[in-house]
Amino acid sequence: MSKQAAPTKSRVKAEEQPGAAAAVEEVTDHIDPAQLDEEHAKQKEEQKNRIEAVDRETLLKLLYQMILIRRFEEKCAESYSLGKIGGFCHLYIGQEAVAVGAISAIRQDDYVITSYREHGHAIAKGVSADEVMAELYGKSGGCSSGKGGSMHLFDADVNFMGGHGIVGGQIPLGTGIAFGSKYKGTDQVTLCFFGEAAVNQGAFHESLNMAQLWKLPCIYICENNQYGMGTSLDRAMSLQDVSQKACAYELSSEFVDGMDVLAVREAVQRGVERARKDYLPTLLEIRTYRFMGHSMSDPGNYRTRAEIEKYQQRDPIKLFTASLLENGVIDQAALDEIEGRVREEVEHSARFADESPLPDPKELYTHIYADE
C-alpha cells in the first residue's frame, strides 16, 4: 500500500462546529486561507516540475480539453437559464483537472463510468461536445438519443459507460466492468469516478471489498469537492481522509491535488499500471472544488463567497495556463488560438443541439427491452 501526499492538516473546525445547527446559523469558511496560500505556492512549483516530463502536444491537449469543458459548462448555464436544458444540471466548473488529467492517463478502449456530474468526463473520454449538448437539450442527436439527459450520458463507441444518478450507484457497476475485463482476460482498465459523499454509501465499501478480494482492474477516483450537495465534509463524514478508508480493504490509495491536472494524470497513471499489469484496484482521493452550486437550482448559502474566491485563485485552468506560459510551452497567441477554437466548438455544439430534431414520439416505446 502506498500513500503519498496525505493532507498536511486535518480539516478545520470540526470540533468548533458541532452539528448542523451551527452551520445553518453561521456560514463560515471551511478552509484556512493561510494554508491555502501555502499550498498554492507549493503546488505551482510542483506543476512546473511535472511539465518537464510531458510532451507539448499532450500539454496542449490537456489545456484545450480543460478550457473546452469550462466554456461548455458556461454555455450550459446560459442554455439552462434560457430553458433549453431541463431537469437537473450539475456543472463541473472548477473540477476540470480531475476528469481531464485522469482520462488522459488511459487508452481509448479503457472504460470510464461516473456519476451525474459528468459532462466533463464524457467530453474528456471523447464523446463529442455536439452530442453531449444535444443530449442536454433532449434532442435525438444526443449521445443517449435524448432519453438520458444531463445525468445519463452514454457512448458505447468510446466506452463511456454512463452517468449514473443514484449517489454511489455506479461504483458496483464500475467494479463489474473491471470484473468483465479480467474475466475476458483483456488488459482494459476502468476509471470509476464518484464524489466524496458517495463514500458514505454501502455501495462504495461493498465494491472496494470485492475489488481487492478478487483483484479487479478498477481505479476508484473520489472527486472530493468537499460538499455533498450543501453538506460540508466535516458535517457528513467521521473520518474525513477518504484515501485512508482504503486501509479497511487493503487497497492502494493516494491523496491527490485535484487542481493540478498533471498531478492527477500521474497518480492515475500509477493506478492504471497496477491495474493493467496485476489486475489490482486503487483508490484515489482527488481534492478539488466546485465553483458553481450543486446544480443550477442551488442557492449556495452553505458556503461564503470568500471561500469560493479563495479557491478560484487556485483555479486549475489558471494555474496550468500560468505554468505553461512561464515554462514557455505556449505564448499568449497560442492561448488565444485555443480559446478561439474552443469557442467555435462550443458554439457549434449549441447550434447542433438547437437544430437536432426532437426524438420521434415513437421513441417513447423503444429500448425498453433488447429483443423488441
Binding site: 472504460y111 463510468i113 444526443g142 449521445c143 443517449s144 438519443s145 435524448g146 432519453k147 438520458g148 445519463h152 452514454f154 457512448d155 458505447a156 459507460m161 454512463g162 449514473h164 444518478g165 443514484i166 450507484g169 461504483i171 458496483p172 457497476l173 464500475g174 467494479t175 463489474g176 466492468i177 473491471a178 470484473f179 468483465g180 475485463s181 474475466y183 475476458k184 454501502g202 455501495a203 461493498e206 465494491s207 471489498n209 470485492m210 478480494l213 478478487w214 423503444t366 429500448h367 425498453i368 427491452y369 433488447a370 429483443d371
Partner: protein, 327 residues
C-alpha cells in the same frame, strides 16, 4: 422424459448454459464451495471452476451491481440471491441500473443478466424470510419476471432467461424445490418467456395461478370437478411480459375468474391481471373477478398462523363456487 425434482431441473439448466456459453458465469452467496444453500448449484464449482462459479461475500447490493456492470461489457451473469428476501438490499441495482440502462442509454447498453433464487413463502421462518415480492419487480418496465411451477418449466424457462438479452428476475418457490415432475430429455429444451401454460382445461371457471399456487389450483380444480364445476387452470409462468391473451381467451370461454397468489393482495400481480380482464373482457364476465391472495400481514412464525396466511385449496374452491354462483 426423466423424472426429477425442480432443484435438479434447475441444476441441469445452469450446467447446460454454463457449458454452452463461456460468457455465462454464476455468482452468489454459497453457490460454489458450499454447493448452494438450497443445493441448486451442486457440483457446478467442480465442473466449471472458480472463475465461472463464484462465492461472494454477503454483499447483495455489491454483487448485484457488479453483475450489471459485467453485463454492460458483454458477459451473461447469473446472480443468485440466497433468497429473494435479500434482493431487497440490491433493488437499487436491479431497478435503477439493470432495468433502465438500455433505455436511458438510448439503446446502447443491453443487460443480459439473470437474478435468481428462492422466493415466496418458506417454512416457519417468519416475516423477513418468507414473502413473495414479484410484484415489485414486475412493476418496472425493462425487467422480465419469471416464476416456474414445475420442474420442466423451471428448466426450460431458466435456460431461456439466461439466453435472454434483458435482465430477468427468476423466482423459484422455496417450498417447491423438492417437487418432482417429468422433464423432457431433448438437448436444447427451452420454453419461451412470456407464454402462459394451460395446466388444465375447463369450461365453467378460470383459475389463474402461479408458482406455489399452481398445485393448489389444480387440487381445487379436482375437488370442483367432483362438485360438477369444470375449471381451467392457467399458469402465466412469466409475470412480465404477461401473456394476457391466453388469460383473456380463457375468460371469454368460462366467464368467471379466480386469481390465486401467495403474495399480498394490495398492488399485486392479481390486481394487475384483474384490471386487464376488466379492460379487455368486461362483457364476458358473469361475475366480478375474484382474488385469493396471501393474508395482508407480515408472515407469522407460528405454524397455525402461517397456514392461515397462505391461500389454501379450500379458499380457492370457495372462491370458484362464489363466482359460479353456487353458494
Amino acid at each position: 422424459m426423466a423424472m426429477m425434482t425442480m432443484r435438479e431441473a434447475l441444476n441441469q439448466a445452469l450446467r447446460e448454459e454454463l457449458e454452452r456459453d463461456e460468457n455465462v458465469f454464476l455468482m452468489g452467496e454459497e453457490v460454489a464451495a458450499y454447493q448452494g444453500a438450497y443445493k441448486v448449484t451442486k457440483g457446478l464449482l467442480d465442473e466449471f471452476g472458480d472463475k465461472r462459479v463464484i462465492d461472494t461475500p454477503i454483499t447483495e447490493l455489491g454483487f448485484a451491481g457488479l453483475g450489471v456492470g459485467a453485463a454492460m461489457v458483454g458477459l451473461r451473469p447469473i446472480i443468485e440471491f440466497m433468497t429473494f428476501n435479500f434482493s431487497i438490499l440490491a433493488t437499487d441495482q436491479i431497478i435503477n441500473s439493470a432495468a433502465k440502462m438500455l433505455y436511458m442509454s438510448g439503446g446502447q447498453f443491453k443487460i443480459p443478466i439473470v437474478f435468481r433464487g428462492p422466493g415466496g413463502s418458506a417454512y416457519q421462518v417468519s416475516s423477513q424470510h418468507s414473502q413473495a415480492i414479484e410484484s415489485w419487480y414486475a412493476y418496472f418496465p425493462g425487467l422480465k419476471v419469471v416464476m416456474p411451477s414445475t420442474p420442466a418449466d423451471a428448466k426450460g424457462l431458466l435456460k431461456s432467461a439466461i439466453r435472454d438479452d434483458n435482465p430477468v428476475v427468476f423466482i423459484e418457490q422455496e417450498r417447491m424445490y423438492g417437487n418432482k415432475g417429468e422433464v423432457p430429455d431433448e438437448a436444447d429444451f427451452t420454453i419461451p418467456l412470456g407464454v402462459a401454460d394451460v395446466k388444465r382445461e375447463g369450461k365453467d371457471a378460470t383459475i389463474v395461478a402461479r408458482s406455489l399456487m399452481v398445485p393448489v389450483a389444480l387440487k381445487a380444480a379436482e375437488e370442483l370437478e367432483k362438485q360438477g364445476v369444470s375449471c381451467e387452470v392457467i399458469d402465466p409462468r412469466t409475470i412480465r411480459p404477461l401473456d394476457v391473451e391466453t388469460i383473456i381467451s380463457s375468460v371469454k370461454k368460462t366467464n368467471r375468474v379466480v386469481i390465486a397468489e401467495e403474495s399480498h393482495p394490495f398492488c399485486g400481480v392479481a390486481a394487475e391481471i384483474s384490471a386487464e380482464i376488466n379492460e379487455r373482457a368486461f362483457d364476458y364476465l358473469d361475475a366480478p373477478v375474484r382474488r385469493v391472495s396471501g393474508a395482508d400481514v407480515p408472515m407469522p412464525y407460528a405454524k397455525n398462523l402461517e397456514d392461515l396466511a397462505i391461500p389454501s385449496v379450500e379458499q380457492v374452491v370457495k372462491a370458484v363456487r362464489e363466482v359460479a354462483y353456487l353458494d
